[in-house]
Each structure stands twice: as structure tokens, then as C-alpha cells.
């Protein structure tokens, strides 16, 4: 296999808070190959967004980031100069944020925002920048692209703004895109369209895509591989089909079972839920972080849980001897 475009080993992010150190990301190892989609999935506060921000070097100033290595196309992002990082960011690695309302500058036209990274990274002159902006706006399905360049973000709908964000990320032809909940603020119909678009563009341009989401429904449909995060750790990872067919971590099973499914979920038949709350990550956590919410927890779960590896790169942090069955009355 060729060098992955992103190769992160033992990433940790610590944030000092009033009552101690918040261990927001603990020991995250992941890789993304060219043309591959890795979905990082988990609930709010599991560290999935911080993981992508850590890769981009966009953590808040107080946060401390450590890792064994964090290579982007062979270059270690931990040791690059700030100047080199600025050269890479927005250029060879780009980010799509959740809220297209707040991540576009309301005082700039769409055209100015699209051409800015292209010009800044010296990819060509203004004319070439405009041509590429029009090309990409059309490519992401925006009609009358030339006219849109002069418009401001408030003149566009949420779906269109998210398309503009995607076009902006593609301006410099990146090797890696990090998308943080790119469709969470959108309608289900627009969500399907945007995900289609991302998958198509990825095939066309051969980019690596790291997609952060809380919805395993999205993961099932777009990911080649999945990493399930809980309390700052990757608790299960592997090829998508394997993880959905034979989830080895009860948390993964819980996330699968809580999704309502048309014509199967019915009134009077409750969805699966994950009882309880995410533990505090201030201070250290001993043993399995999920054990207080786990229906299968036993006494050994209080001790450190090693990572177990199975076939095809499937790996999990759980001592259960086999795949976790669905607890629903009428599972998929």
C-alpha cells in the first residue's frame, strides 16, 4: 500500500480547565489513504471535532497537542514550521465546517471568498482564480455560477452555502479534506445530495476524506472505513461493512440501534438508547470509559482494556469475546 495521505499515531489533546486537565483526545491513531473516506463517529464531546482541528493545527491556544507522529503526505505536522503549515492549510489540506452560516464571511462576496485561498497560495492570477471558482461552483451543482460570484452569503440558502464551502475547500485541489458534520444543519434531502457530491468529487480528484459525524446512518452509506470514538478514544475501527455486521464494542452497537428506520420503527416500539451520560474527561480515566453505561460490563472492565485486532484491520477496545448482538426486539 502507498503512503497514506494522513497518518496519525497516538494523538492526545489536553485542555487546562478550572478543575484540572481535560483529556479531550486520548491516544487516537488513524490513517486516511488517497481516495479513501474515513468516518470518525461519536456523540458530542467525544473528541471527534478536536481530532480534526488538531490535524489542521486549529486548536484553541490553551490546548496541548501531543502525538507519536502526525504525518500529512509524509511530512510530520508536529514539526513543520508555522510558515509551512500555512502553505499546506487551505491548499493541500482543506476543511469543511458544520455551519455554513457562520463559517462564511458575511461581508465578502462568494467570489472573493472562493478566490482568496487560490490567490494566496499563488496558484494563478485573478482571472484563473475566477475561472476555477465558476468551474467548481458549477461542479458542486450551483446554477448560474457566474452570477453567484457577486452575491453575499446571506443571499444563499443553507444548502447552497454548504456547496460554496465545498467548492472553496476544492479551490486549490487538496490531497485531504476534513469535513466536520458537513450536513448536520441541512434537510435530509439536501444531506443526501451533498454526500453524493462529496463522494463523486472524491472519486474524481482522488482526495482522502476524513468525515466527522454523529450519525451512523451517514457512515454506513459513505465510509470505506470507520473509527468510532468515545470519551476521547477510538473504541472500534475497521472496514465499514465489517463494523456494521459484527460490531465488537457495545457502544458501536448502541449507536446503530438508536437510528429510526422507515417502515420498521413503529409507535410503541422504543428505539435503542445508550443510557447514562459521557463520563467527565477531567483527570484520568481508569479502565473502559464506557463501562458505566454498558449492559455487558463486568469487574475486569475497571482495568485497562487492551486493543484487540481481528481480520481486515478491524480493531476494538473491549474484552467481550464475540460480536455484540442487537438488544432491539426487531433488529435489522
Amino acid at each position: 500500500m502507498t503512503t497514506p495521505v494522513l497518518d496519525v499515531k497516538q494523538l492526545a489533546v489536553q485542555i487546562p480547565v478550572t478543575d484540572g486537565i481535560l483529556h479531550a483526545v486520548r491516544d487516537v491513531t488513524l490513517t486516511v489513504a488517497r481516495g479513501e473516506t474515513l468516518c470518525v463517529v461519536g456523540e458530542s464531546g467525544c473528541g471527534k471535532s478536536l481530532t480534526s482541528l488538531a490535524v489542521m493545527g486549529l486548536l484553541p491556544g490553551s490546548a496541548r497537542r501531543t502525538a507519536a507522529h502526525m504525518r500529512f503526505a509524509g511530512e510530520d505536522l508536529l514539526t513543520v514550521t508555522p510558515r509551512r503549515l500555512r502553505e499546506l492549510r487551505g491548499n493541500r489540506m482543506a476543511m469543511i465546517f458544520q455551519e455554513p452560516m457562520t463559517s462564511l464571511n458575511p461581508a465578502w462576496t462568494i467570489g472573493d471568498q472562493l478566490t482568496e485561498p487560490f490567490l494566496r497560495h499563488g496558484k494563478g492570477n485573478r482571472r484563473e482564480a475566477t475561472d476555477r471558482a465558476v468551474f467548481l461552483l458549477e461542479r458542486v451543482g450551483i446554477a448560474a455560477a457566474g452570477r453567484r460570484l457577486g452575491q453575499y452569503p446571506h443571499e444563499l440558502s443553507g444548502g447552497l452555502r454548504q456547496r460554496v464551502m465545498i467548492a472553496m475547500a476544492l479551490m486549490c485541489g487538496p490531497d485531504l479534506i476534513l469535513a466536520d458534520e458537513p450536513t448536520t444543519a441541512l434537510d435530509v434531502t439536501i444531506q443526501a445530495e451533498i454526500l453524493h457530491l462529496l463522494a463523486e468529487l472524491q472519486r474524481e480528484f482522488g482526495m482522502g476524506l476524513l468525515l466527522v459525524t454523529h450519525d451512523l446512518g451517514i457512515v454506513a452509506r459513505v465510509a470505506h472505513r470507520v473509527a468510532v470514538m468515545y470519551a476521547g478514544e477510538v473504541v472500534e475501527s475497521g472496514p465499514t461493512v465489517t463494523v456494521f455486521d459484527e460490531p465488537r464494542h457495545p457502544y458501536t452497537r448502541g449507536l446503530i440501534d438508536c437510528i429510526p428506520i422507515p417502515a420498521r420503527s413503529r409507535p410503541g416500539v422504543p428505539l435503542g438508547t445508550i443510557p447514562g451520560l459521557v463520563p467527565s474527561l477531567v483527570g484520568g480515566i481508569e479502565g473502559c470509559a464506557f463501562r458505566d453505561r454498558c449492559a455487558f460490563a463486568t469487574e475486569p472492565c475497571a482495568r485497562p482494556v487492551p486493543v484487540v485486532t481481528g481480520a481486515e484491520g478491524h480493531a476494538w477496545r473491549c474484552i467481550l469475546p464475540s460480536a455484540v448482538p442487537s438488544l432491539l426486539e426487531n433488529p435489522a
Partner: protein, 328 residues
């Protein structure tokens, strides 16, 4: 007689706004809701589904009395909402909104947020109110210690439980849930849906449940109405709409729900992506520019909401044609 009277009845409700386009341009009418008639009998849940901009939230606001219909009537328990005072209205109908972060006062404790409706309506003495708040918090699955907490100390799911408790404490006749789970994680959404389902069966609530996701609506709704550009395009019993949707738009909405099946890939909703401009709605059927089944008649004549087959009604020329061709 009063048992058969629907709790909520909408009679040909229209809401038009006048939209300015700059200082000198003439204002143009925007039809947010274009003649909707629906009713919800006691103890039932009507699911209202559609994309952003389809008018479902405007409809909810009219039912809550926050907006006045341009035409038509909203009746709650047989009484026109226009004739009710503010307090009286609040006793009959209560909302749960989408965003549990902005719908709770950050400076009040949970107990005072949930107890405020009782105080406003002068119900009971202080200690009696405190007891009712305590019972209500327990009913929505919050611990007694949460009573003294502030909204910022709670998670999104817990805040939505507070919003539900506040809405239910006056025992309203009608509960309006406007995208109550859209801002939540999928796992928390499941908890809130289960809670609403449980409250539904325990209290026999009557409610209007609004969402853009049909799979969410089906958990609670006895009937479903699908809205598109201000009109109801399909209405019927939930199971029937979920399994045999007649309108191509309903089918598109269903197809766009991403179920956790890794072998299916991304669905082709066949809807295209161009949502029409509500300021210049397409002629004929408003859905025809996105419709995979479009034929000539759709471009000129607006279809009416009718029975074609089964118990649902649909506003679709193709459904009418197919029903006519099907053997009786």
C-alpha cells in the same frame, strides 16, 4: 359530541407575507402557507413533514397564535384561536422548539423555568407548585438535583427534557413539537423520541409533531401530512404513507433517510436539488420541476388533495392516473 370534535382543526389556512426586495422595488407576496386543512382528533399525533421553507413552522406558529392567518381559521377544541386571550391560549396549546439552547432562559434555574407557567396562571400555592415541578421533572426523566441547576449545566438532551416538562406542566390540550430532536445527537434523539412516546401513551397527549425526517415522525405519529411549498401534498395513516407513499415527493423524502445499512450506498432521491423560489412558485404542480414522473398536465394544472387509492390522500396527477389505470 365533544368527544368527536378534533382538538386541532385547520380550515383552509393561508398565510401570505409581503416581501420587500430593496428600497424602491415593489413588495411581492410570498405564500408561506397556501390553503391547508387538517385536523387532529383527541389523543392522536399528526406528523408534519417537509423541507426547510415548506411552511411547516409557519403553520406551527399560527397554531400557537404567534402568527395570524391571512385567511382561514385555526380552531382548538372547537374554539377559534383568534378569539382566545393570551393566557387562555397558553392553557390549551404549548410548544417544544428545536433548539434547547436558545429556548431556555440561561439565568433561571430549571425549577423556576418549569414552574413559571404555573406562577403565571396563578395555579396552587408555592409548595404545591414545587411538588408539581418535582413530579413533572421525574416524569421527563430528570433527577431531583437538576431542579436547582441552570440550563448551561445540562446537556442538550436534558435541556430538551426541561422544555418538554415546561410545555406539559399546565396539562395543555395540544402539544406542538417543532423539530424537537433536530439539534441533538442521534443517540440523544432516540432518548427524546422514546420519552415522547412514553408520555404519549401515559398522558394520552394530542400533538402536532414537525420534522424534516419521516423516519423520526413515524415513531409518534398516527397520521402524517407531507408539505411542499406551503401545501399538503399527501396525508394519511402513518403506516400507509411509510409503506405505500403515493406522492413522488413523499417517496423522495423516504429515500433520503440514511439507514445504517453499509451495503446500500447513497440513495438517489431523484429529487434534484433545486428547491423552488417561493416568491415565484412554478405554475401547475409546484413540485413538477423536481418530479421524476412529470407529464404535460403537471405543468399547467395544480393537482388537488384527493383520495386515489387506500386511505391516504395525495395531490398528484400521476397518482390519479395510476389509480385510474389500476384494476379496481
Amino acid at each position: 359530541m365533544s368527544d368527536q370534535q378534533p382538538i386541532l382543526e385547520l380550515r383552509n389556512v393561508v398565510k401570505r407575507y409581503s416581501v420587500g426586495r430593496g428600497m424602491f422595488a415593489a413588495k411581492r407576496p410570498l405564500m408561506a402557507v397556501g390553503g391547508v386543512s387538517l385536523s387532529v382528533p383527541r389523543g392522536q399525533v399528526l406528523g408534519l413533514v417537509g423541507e426547510s421553507g415548506c411552511g411547516k413552522s409557519t403553520l406551527a406558529k399560527m397554531v400557537l397564535g404567534l402568527e395570524t392567518p391571512t385567511e382561514g381559521e385555526v380552531l382548538i377544541d372547537g374554539r377559534p384561536i383568534a378569539q382566545l386571550g393570551r393566557l387562555e391560549r397558553a392553557r390549551l396549546v404549548q410548544p417544544v422548539f428545536q433548539d434547547p439552547y436558545s429556548s431556555l432562559n440561561p439565568r433561571k434555574t430549571i425549577a423556576s423555568i418549569v414552574g413559571l407557567p404555573l406562577a403565571v396562571h396563578g395555579e396552587g400555592t408555592g409548595p404545591e407548585r414545587a411538588t408539581r415541578v418535582e413530579e413533572m421533572l421525574a416524569m421527563v426523566g430528570l433527577a431531583p438535583r437538576h431542579a436547582a441547576a441552570y440550563p448551561s449545566q445540562l446537556s442538550g438532551g436534558q435541556r430538551q427534557r426541561v422544555a418538554i416538562a415546561r410545555a406539559l406542566i399546565l396539562k395543555p390540550q395540544l402539544l406542538i413539537c417543532d423539530e424537537p430532536t433536530s439539534a441533538l445527537d442521534v443517540s440523544v434523539q432516540a432518548q427524546i423520541l422514546n420519552l415522547l412516546m412514553d408520555l404519549q401513551s401515559r398522558l394520552g397527549l394530542t400533538s402536532l409533531f414537525i420534522s424534516h425526517n419521516l423516519a423520526v415522525v413515524q415513531m409518534l405519529a398516527t397520521r402524517v401530512a407531507v408539505m411542499y411549498l406551503g401545501r399538503v401534498v399527501e396525508e394519511g395513516p402513518t403506516a400507509e404513507v411509510m409503506v405505500r407513499a403515493q406522492h413522488p415527493y413523499s417517496r423522495g423524502l423516504l429515500a433520503s433517510v440514511l439507514t445504517p445499512d453499509p451495503r446500500l450506498g447513497l440513495p438517489d432521491t431523484r429529487l434534484g436539488s433545486v428547491f423552488p423560489d417561493p416568491l415565484s412558485p412554478p405554475p401547475g404542480c409546484a413540485f413538477h420541476p423536481r418530479c421524476p414522473l412529470v407529464f404535460d398536465r403537471c405543468k399547467t394544472e395544480a393537482p388537488q388533495l384527493r383520495h386515489h387509492q387506500g386511505a391516504s390522500r395525495a395531490a398528484c396527477h400521476a397518482a390519479e392516473r395510476d389509480a385510474a389505470m389500476a384494476p379496481a
